[in-house]
Symmetry: C2
Subunit: 111 residues, 2 copies
Amino acid sequence: MVVDKLDTTFAALSDPTRRAMIERLSHGPASVHGLTEPFALSQQMISKHIAYLVRARIVIKTKRGRESVCTLRPEAIKTVSDWATRYRRFWEESFDKLDVVVNQMKKGGQR
Amino acid sequence: MVVDKLDTTFAALSDPTRRAMIERLSHGPASVHGLTEPFALSQQMISKHIAYLVRARIVIKTKRGRESVCTLRPEAIKTVSDWATRYRRFWEESFDKLDVVVNQMKKGGQR
DNA sequence: ATAAAGCACTACCATATGGTTGTGGATAAG
DNA sequence: CTTATCCACAACCATATGGTAGTGCTTTAT
């Protein structure tokens, strides 16, 4: 049952609010309330966004009294980095190859 | 009107079919038909998936006779890599700091 | 004990997306 | 010319998500 976690990870990253949350959490843990203030969104929406981050295992939530403290999971970000790095050689080589391809397309009839 | 392109980029990457397409296209351009075969999906769905990749500027489509040739845009992948790299220092330092945080949480009452 | 703060849960709505089916247009092959 | 191939477009459905509003539980403060 090794579901591809990249699905939920990338989906979680596709929202600017959640990426801003990650940016903020990269400076240290914060409570749900602490995450609500800077974003001018309802507390319910912040909780929803956090839920997606938790589901994607990007953030861990811990009960602390009446607060829920959110902590960023560094490994999650590293997963994204690793995925992109798989193609590093491709997009480094391709800045040369691309010219050839484009020229081929033009010669072949670019419509 | 500088819409954050990371939105559509990450959204496009949140689907395994599209990531598999990227994997395939990283070995060279392919036609829509060429992309349909390995995935056991209808031609219409493949076209839809490609449309999302094109919208996210990850793939470029070029008419060539009755075929549409899809080419991967290396810069798009680099964008993802750059985003993750922003937090590289964080997730490298954090493998030490995390212990401290966890211990603080435990002392503070992990519930 | 009472009030306020921090948060979760539910219902509800609009939109985007994954997916199918059907169709039609353009190009290539016979 | 006729047919098959490659592809796009539209209608349609189910589900996930962004967002709001309302409610209630638990913990802290007074």
